[in-house]
């Protein structure tokens, strides 16, 4: 079974709740936290890989709590009109989701590798990397 890669976004009320523990304990999911930005004072985000038979039920539990749950590769998209394939993003993308094919030096984006850190949305000189919620 391949893991589901999801992005969670939640308000300060959720930050104090042990939601990951519940996913493991109540839904028997194997959870890998790829990235987390949890701060009781502001909105939090978390990128998870989850495996388990009850993953759909687990995600329903999260949604019922008010957590926004999205497939990871839906988060960031490349605006093909705007991208000029300079490659400025390729040295900064932490997972290699944005990479350069050689020798053509064309820039490609592999959404499956993206962890929605959103660095590219700021460093792209053409602002071609966009967040789609």
């Amino acid at each position: 079974m391949s893991p589901k890669r999801i992005v969670l976004r939640f308000g300060t009320d959720i930050s104090v709740k042990p939601v990951v523990y519940r996913l493991v304990k109540d839904y028997d999911l194997v959870v890998n936290i790829v990235k987390a930005d949890v701060n009781p004072q502001k909105e939090g985000t978390m990128v998870l890989e989850v495996i388990g038979d009850q993953s759909d039920e687990g995600l329903t539990y999260l949604r019922d709590l008010g957590v926004s749950v999205q497939d990871l590769n839906q988060g960031i998209v490349r605006n093909e009109e705007k991208c000029v394939m300079c490659g400025a993003c390729t040295g900064l993308c932490p997972t290699g989701a944005l990479y350069m094919e050689r020798p053509s030096m064309e820039v490609h984006f592999d959404g499956d590798q993206c962890i929605v850190c959103m660095l590219c949305t700021k460093v792209c000189p053409m602002r071609a990397m966009e967040v789609h919620l």
Partner: protein
């Protein structure tokens, strides 16, 4: 006997549809297959290309008179100030200008999402632009303010005039400090964790004519998707060649001032650009044809990425403090491979200059020449070359 051709002979072949035109990359392959002498005999024109951020860019706009007349003292286009210290309704919108309400770097690193470069791209894309102007009023120009919209087709003239474009060569930027920095060479992670460079190497116009044998005042070029001309040398034109172990190494080198009618250019080749923590600018597409008048010109035009070198410069300390020197040279072949080695450390590289776009420019220009639409111009004045030994001056502090 070595080959000698004239501009007239090459243009006659272009008009007859018989000229042999290749891109700089294709010339390299041809020289490898047939040798330099044969390639120089066969090829008439080599096309080059570059597409990269070029901050010293902008456009003169002549907006048309208002009724009653107005001597515009300050002008804003989509909130971005344009220089109006020229005649009544003329203004110059510079690529690096920012809106007056931009938070700049007060929320560091600033995003600089919109600036003069974006105004130019929006103009060329035929989008309506908000114009605001104020004036103090005179007898002949009584009006004091106006707010309206303009479009590129409605204004009288729009002349792209970029005082410094097409840098011959450029630094490969790294950061030796222990904090992330945000520069015009992009975001540079601490301890040389990444390196950014910005020329198209073996496709780059001035790297293929380093002694300015063919590119001069009046040279007709591909500019912003249309036709342009070399107006003069660019500002900070310091062509220089250092010989190290018999290998010619260029510094930042020569630059070009270029000019052309904005109305026939395209938003694909003039793109508003933003550098996190640094500012806004314009990416410009430029392609220059090099006539193969003789074997020497062919030899330079055929230089490969392996034979072209960029100096590695620390933008953490050395560059901002204006400390001369560099951390050595790396070839464009190494830079384009994705990793370079500096001070024994392997570093990942990224270009800021688009190689696919540079290739597209060289091939578009090749098509224009092959179709017979685009003839070559002999420079009406040559530009200073490395042999002229121009020395750069820096500002003196007040006594």
């Amino acid at each position: 006997m070595s080959v000698e051709k004239t501009y007239g002979e090459i243009n006659a072949k272009i008009k007859a549809g018989k000229a042999v035109v290749v891109t700089a990359e294709e010339l390299i392959t041809l020289v490898e297959e047939k040798g330099l002498s044969q390639a120089a005999r066969e090829v008439d024109v080599v096309t080059t290309g570059t597409f990269a951020p070029m901050c010293s860019s902008g456009a003169f706009l002549s907006l048309g008179h208002t009724k009653p007349r107005m001597k515009m003292q300050k002008v804003w286009l989509n909130g971005v100030s344009a220089y109006a210290g020229i005649a009544a309704v003329d203004a110059y919108i510079g690529a690096a200008e920012l809106p007056e309400d931009d938070p700049l770097n007060s929320n560091y690193p600033g995003e600089f999402r919109y600036g003069g470069g974006h105004v130019i791209q929006d103009l060329v894309a035929r989008k309506p632009i908000q114009l605001k102007a104020i004036a103090y009023g005179t007898n002949c120009y009584p009006r004091r303010n106006i707010e309206t919209t303009i479009t590129l087709d409605e204004i009288n003239e729009a002349i792209l005039f970029n005082p410094r474009n097409a840098y011959q060569n450029y630094n490969c930027a790294v950061n030796l400090t222990d904090r992330t920095i945000y520069t015009y060479m992009g975001m540079l992670k601490p301890h040389m964790a990444n390196a950014n460079f910005s020329t198209s190497g073996q496709l780059s116009p001035l790297l293929k004519d380093p002694h300015f044998k063919t590119i001069g005042v009046g040279t007709k070029i591909f500019l912003g998707g249309g036709i342009g001309y070399v107006a003069w040398n660019g500002t900070q034109h310091f062509p220089s060649i250092t010989n190290v172990d018999g290998q010619e190494l260029g510094g930042a080198g020569g630059t070009l001032a270029v000019i052309g009618d904005l109305k026939q250019m395209s938003p694909r080749w003039l793109v508003g650009t933003s550098f996190l923590g640094y500012g806004a600018t314009l990416s410009v597409g430029i392609g220059i044809p090099i006539p193969i008048l003789n074997e020497e010109i062919a030899r330079y035009a055929a230089l490969k990425d392996e034979e072209l070198f960029a100096p590695v410069v620390d933008y953490g300390e050395a560059y901002p403090s204006f400390t001369p020197g560099n951390l050595g040279y790396v070839s464009y072949a190494e830079l384009k491979s994705g990793t370079i080695k500096v001070n024994g450390k392997e570093i990942q590289t990224s270009p800021l200059s688009s190689m696919p776009r540079a290739r597209e420019i060289a091939s578009n220009l090749k098509e224009w020449i092959q179709k017979g639409d685009f003839l070559l111009t002999e420079p009406v004045k040559t530009l200073p070359s490395p042999a002229d030994g121009i020395v750069a001056h820096s500002l003196k502090e007040a006594d």
